[in-house]
């Protein structure tokens, strides 16, 4: 909902000193909840199961109900007591929900889940019931999986929760960016008026309001904060492809200060999506979600419907649309 995505709101909250805790099968409920920190009446936010991509509300409810008396001791335990399909557990594992309480990293949890079916075998279920404790179905030699790289974890976080509580993806690229003399967004926003510089960030919001006659406003973000970029029509047309398709951009341009309002006026743009994809060391693109504020992705508001004459058959072919800056 709203203009920003959970990732930005969570980051903003962290900047304000709010502690955010990751999704956890033993403590998260469906919605996000508050957990007390110590005795002094402060609270931390626990991310809810609703943010786990693909997890059904009913399955989450089953998990929460099953742990009411006693926290889950292991994946096996959770699987037998909650009775949710293995596919839902895979979603939880991918969202890294087994780490904080059960101490299982993504890969370990996924490995453990590979051995499970949707329902326990009847004999083992009967044995578990008799023993009053979980009897595991298979005994396997323990094995050590190579841990994911930190960058990979971040990519997985974005892909399955939509936000990360680890490092910002750009922090992994910072050394490379610094070598290319690309500054951080915070430095860019604090630079003096008229300075030329290049900054890079994840593309959060792209907007072209009708009243701005084709000018695009772009917000990008790195580990230090967000930067506001203005792209004039000419530059937009020249870099249209880059602007519309990149998930990460480097913007070279001039700083413009107007009191407390700071813009980076773009002169040239470079697509850094490839670099971003390399954070997870793989070929697939970075799973950057897009908020409702991002008009390039979701389409602009178009003509305000309230401005249309009532009853005059709006939206048929004859309505002059807001054609923003056709390149002719």
């Amino acid at each position: 909902m709203g203009f920003y995505l959970p990732a930005q709101i969570v980051r903003d909250a962290q900047v304000h000193g709010v502690e955010i805790r990751p999704v956890c099968v033993n403590t998260s409920r469906w919605d996000c909840t508050l957990e007390p920190i110590g005795e002094d009446g402060r609270f931390a936010v626990r991310v809810g199961l609703r943010l786990v991509k693909g997890l059904a509300n009913a399955d989450a409810a089953a998990i929460v109900a099953a742990r009411a008396n006693e926290a889950f001791a292991s994946i096996d335990d959770l699987w037998q007591r909650a009775g949710v399909p293995a596919a839902s557990l895979v979603q939880l594992a991918e969202a890294d929900a087994f780490r904080s309480d059960l101490g299982l990293a993504r890969r370990e949890a996924l490995w453990a889940l590979k051995g499970l079916r949707d329902e326990p075998l009847p004999l083992f279920a009967a044995a578990s019931a008799r023993e009053q404790q979980t009897v595991s179905e298979i005994h396997e030699p323990a094995l050590t999986l190579r841990p994911m790289t930190a960058g990979r974890e971040v990519v997985e976080d974005y892909g399955h929760v939509g936000l990360t509580l680890r490092n910002h993806p750009l922090s992994f690229l910072r050394a490379d960016l610094a070598r290319r003399r690309i500054v951080t967004c915070r430095d860019a926003m604090q630079a003096r008026d008229g300075r030329w510089l290049e900054a890079a960030g994840l593309v959060l919001v792209r907007q072209r309001p009708g009243s701005a006659k084709g000018v695009m406003f772009l917000t990008m973000e790195d580990e230090t904060g967000a930067a506001n970029v203005v792209v004039w029509v000419k530059v937009f047309e020249k870099f249209r492809r880059v602007l519309l398709s990149s998930s990460m951009l480097a913007v070279r341009g001039k700083i413009q200060r107007e009191g407390e309002v700071v813009h980076l006026v773009a002169h040239s743009l470079t697509d850094l999506s490839g670099e971003l994809a390399s954070v997870g060391n793989r070929e697939t693109p970075f799973p950057l979600p897009h908020g409702r504020g991002d008009e390039a992705h979701h389409g602009g508001p178009g003509l305000d419907p309230r401005s249309m004459p009532k009853g005059l058959r709006p939206r048929t072919s004859s309505i002059p649309r807001c054609r923003l800056s056709r390149s002719r």
């Binding site: 519309l244 398709s245 048929t316 072919s317 649309r321």
Partner: protein
């Protein structure tokens, strides 16, 4: 020889989704040009396009015959036309029945169903070949419809066409069913043929190369002039003449649909108006425990009088009932939009803008001149709105209430994707093309394709781009309106077919909100607002962990720490003022009071920006420019915004105070401004406004500036009431 006369009885508009290729406007304009007397729009198992056709018919003066093509489960196809209002209602019910059975976008009807609803309908059989099946169908038709049964004679442009017509004609004579000529029109002029083929391919989800015989086989299914029809059917002059006979019999017009709002019986023994009056004063006593201020009493009296004249009391009662229900379930809700201009809405608890402290202009909401149903939008928590909606369905009954639909139309992106696919372009290419489109607002021109290093000499690529442009705006399917309910006193399925929606337990009518505006239906908006859900959660968390019970009304007002945060533009996650434009404006407005927030919400709108009102306002606010008022009256209107009109109500009041407009006229002015790009009707107001202002002693320059300012934001301004409602949520969420 007299010129032949002809009415086309089988026209398929693009509301037979992915089948027809022309809009009703185009069809009727073409019919007018060709001299066809009447068109019958017969979409498949649907009346979705009939209101558009009705309007197009009015615009062009060509008569519309309301009709529908029914494809029965056993493969029989026929065209039906209601002769009167009662028959139309039967047709609506029949379609509702079929849709309920078939599920979303399907319709399952048997012959027996049709027979049950046949009274008053004229039926024309669309035959295949003149064989035994056809004979059987004709017999059934004859038995059920009697002298209202006909057989369509249509050229198919296949081998032995004339022989087929001859045999059909003989068979019809044998079965004592008269014949009638139709042309089975799919598009208004021959040029649309390619588009029609492509949408056929899209419908079958295959490429045009695989289309084969699924393609409509003859190219001349466009509207033809009467002379041409007479030439083509010179052997059957009587069948040609019967088109007019049928047109004469079908006298039904959508104008006859009298809409009736449901009777609200909240308090036994009272009329709706009396009940509203009683509830209003009870509410007023609650809102003002120390006694209702005189100003508010006067406002309420004025509003109740207007509501009585216009008979809108039941509507207010409905909204009140919905809001009361939501409150009883502890669901947060708040009215917004122009309704917040009403003191009655405030005391009923629908909106939360205090009429005592704000200047409300009821005419912005309801006016006698406009003669148009009021529109109260109420926002509910988005995750629990379904409870409210189901309550509406249950309370008013599933055959008396349904959501409006929304017509989903092709935009450039989707058009390129679907057409590219139908033309066999590889998916990565169509993806590449559509990824370069900004939002839904622009087309793909050649230069853009060249920039992508595409070869424009490729015929299919070029065709894709051309057709995508043609396809823009064509309806693709029906979807649900976000929350507009239509409620009726008589059965709703007498007025319009109802179909089940994709979501469980929801149902929608076939018409969208513009259609029901044309027919002057009233709708109640039950909208969803995510921020209300958020706030509800926050209140719950506060209650759980800190033992504080708060709600929207009891949030501490004018909290300095909150404004300090807002002034720093530290507003990510705050309703409305979190966007970038709002944030940069916060630095300049530096809100310290609630009213500053109202201004803030309203000022970042295309209206004030285009009307060049932002900078004068800011300059005056920062003390860089003197605030001047030529007259004291003007100061009363514009004083709180430093002499710059920022809200729609102010524009209206300026016209009233300075140029002597009545409240209703001022509202017309606002609407004319909002739409002057389309209608050009603003000039008469221009003269009146400027003339009136000069007559009242203002300088011509000042009058011209004022007009320009008003013109700028007629369309994209917020009413103050709406800005205030939103500002309240913004404050509460920060």
């Amino acid at each position: 020889m007299t010129t032949p006369r002809y009415a086309e009885l089988q026209v398929t508009s693009h509301f037979s989704f992915l089948r027809g290729a022309s809009s009703c406007d185009d069809l009727f304009a073409q019919a007018a040009a060709l001299g066809i007397e009447a068109l019958a729009v017969v979409d498949r198992n649907s009346l979705a396009g009939i209101v558009r056709a009705h309007q197009a018919a009015k615009d062009t003066g060509i008569r519309l015959i309301v009709g529908c093509r029914l494809d029965l489960v056993d493969g029989m196809s026929l065209l039906v036309y209601p002769t009167d209002r009662a028959a139309y209602s039967r047709l609506c019910r029949l379609l509702t029945l079929g849709k309920k059975r078939g599920g979303k976008a399907q319709c399952r009807l048997e012959w027996d169903d049709l027979a049950d609803y046949a009274e008053g309908l004229i039926a024309v059989l669309v035959p295949g070949r003149a064989d035994d099946t056809c004979a059987l169908q004709l017999r059934r038709l004859r038995e059920t419809f009697g002298d209202r049964a006909y057989l369509a004679l249509t050229l198919r442009r296949r081998p032995n066409d004339q022989v087929r017509l001859h045999q059909l004609s003989n068979l019809a004579t044998q079965m004592r069913v008269p014949t009638v000529v139709t042309n089975d029109v799919l598009f208004h002029e021959p040029g649309q043929r390619i588009l029609q083929d492509v949408v056929t391919a899209i419908r079958h989800n295959i490429t045009i190369d695989e289309l084969g015989f699924r393609r409509e086989r003859h190219a001349d299914r466009y509207l033809k002039p009467p002379e041409e029809m007479a030439r083509l059917f010179s052997r059957y002059p009587e069948a040609l003449a019967r088109t007019l006979e049928i047109a004469r019999q079908c006298r039904f017009s959508l104008d006859e649909l009298a809409y009736q709002y449901p009777e609200e019986k909240m308090l036994p023994g009272l009329t709706a108006q009396q009940a509203l009056r009683q509830l209003t004063w009870e509410g007023a006593a609650r809102r003002y425990p120390e006694g209702v201020p005189d100003k508010v009493v006067a406002l309420i009296e004025h509003e109740l009088r207007l509501i009585e004249i216009l008979q809108y009391a039941p509507y207010f009662l409905t909204v009140n009932a919905i809001v009361q229900f939501a409150r009883s379930k502890d669901i947060l809700c708040q009215g917004r939009g122009s309704a917040a201009n009403s003191a009655v809405c405030y005391v009923l608890g629908i909106t939360s803008i205090d009429p005592e402290r704000n200047n409300l202009l009821f005419e912005r909401f309801v006016s006698q001149e406009r003669n148009e149903p009021p529109d109260i939008d109420v926002d509910f928590e988005h995750e629990r709105r379904e409870i409210v909606m189901q309550w509406v369905y249950e309370t008013y009954g599933r055959d008396h209430s349904a959501l409006c639909s929304t017509v989903v139309r092709y935009h450039t992106k989707g058009g390129v994707r679907d057409i590219g696919k139908a033309l066999g372009l590889p998916e990565d290419l169509t993806k590449l093309l559509s990824s370069q489109v900004w939002g839904h607002e622009e087309g793909i021109d050649e230069k853009r394709a060249q920039d992508l290093n595409l070869n424009l000499a490729d015929r299919r690529l070029r065709l894709t781009l051309e057709l995508a442009q043609q396809l823009e705006g064509t309806p693709r399917h029906l979807s649900q309106h976000p929350g507009g309910f239509v409620l009726t006193n008589d059965r709703l399925d007498d007025l319009v077919p109802i179909e089940p929606a994709r979501m469980v337990d929801r149902q929608v009518i076939e018409w969208d909100k513009d259609d029901i505006d044309i027919l002057k239906f009233m709708k109640v908006d039950v909208l969803a607002l995510g921020m209300l859900t958020c706030m509800k959660r926050s209140f719950d968390l506060l209650a759980e962990h800190k033992g504080m019970t708060l709600d929207l009304a009891t949030i501490p007002a004018e909290d300095p720490a909150t404004y300090t945060m807002i002034r720093k533009a530290d507003t990510i996650g705050v309703f409305q003022i979190e966007s970038r434009a709002q944030m940069s404006m916060l630095h300049r407005i530096k809100p310290r009071t609630f009213y500053d927030l109202v201004v803030e919400v309203a000022i970042v709108r295309p209206g004030p920006i285009q009307g060049d009102m932002v900078h004068p306002y800011l300059r005056r606010r920062e003390g860089k420019e003197p605030v001047e008022f030529p007259t004291p009256e003007l100061e009363r209107v514009l004083g709180k915004t430093l002499g710059v009109p920022l809200f729609q109500e102010q524009a209206m009041q300026v016209a009233m105070v300075c140029a002597g407009f009545s409240a209703g006229e001022a509202d017309q002015l606002r609407r004319a401004m909002a739409t002057f790009k389309h209608t050009g009707g603003v000039s008469k107001f221009r003269d009146k406004l400027i003339g009136g202002m000069i007559a009242n002693g203002y300088t011509p320059e000042f009058a011209a500036t004022t007009f320009k300012q008003l013109e700028g934001f007629g369309s994209y301004g917020f009413p103050e009431s709406h800005a205030a409602s939103f500002a309240l949520v913004a404050y509460a969420s920060s």
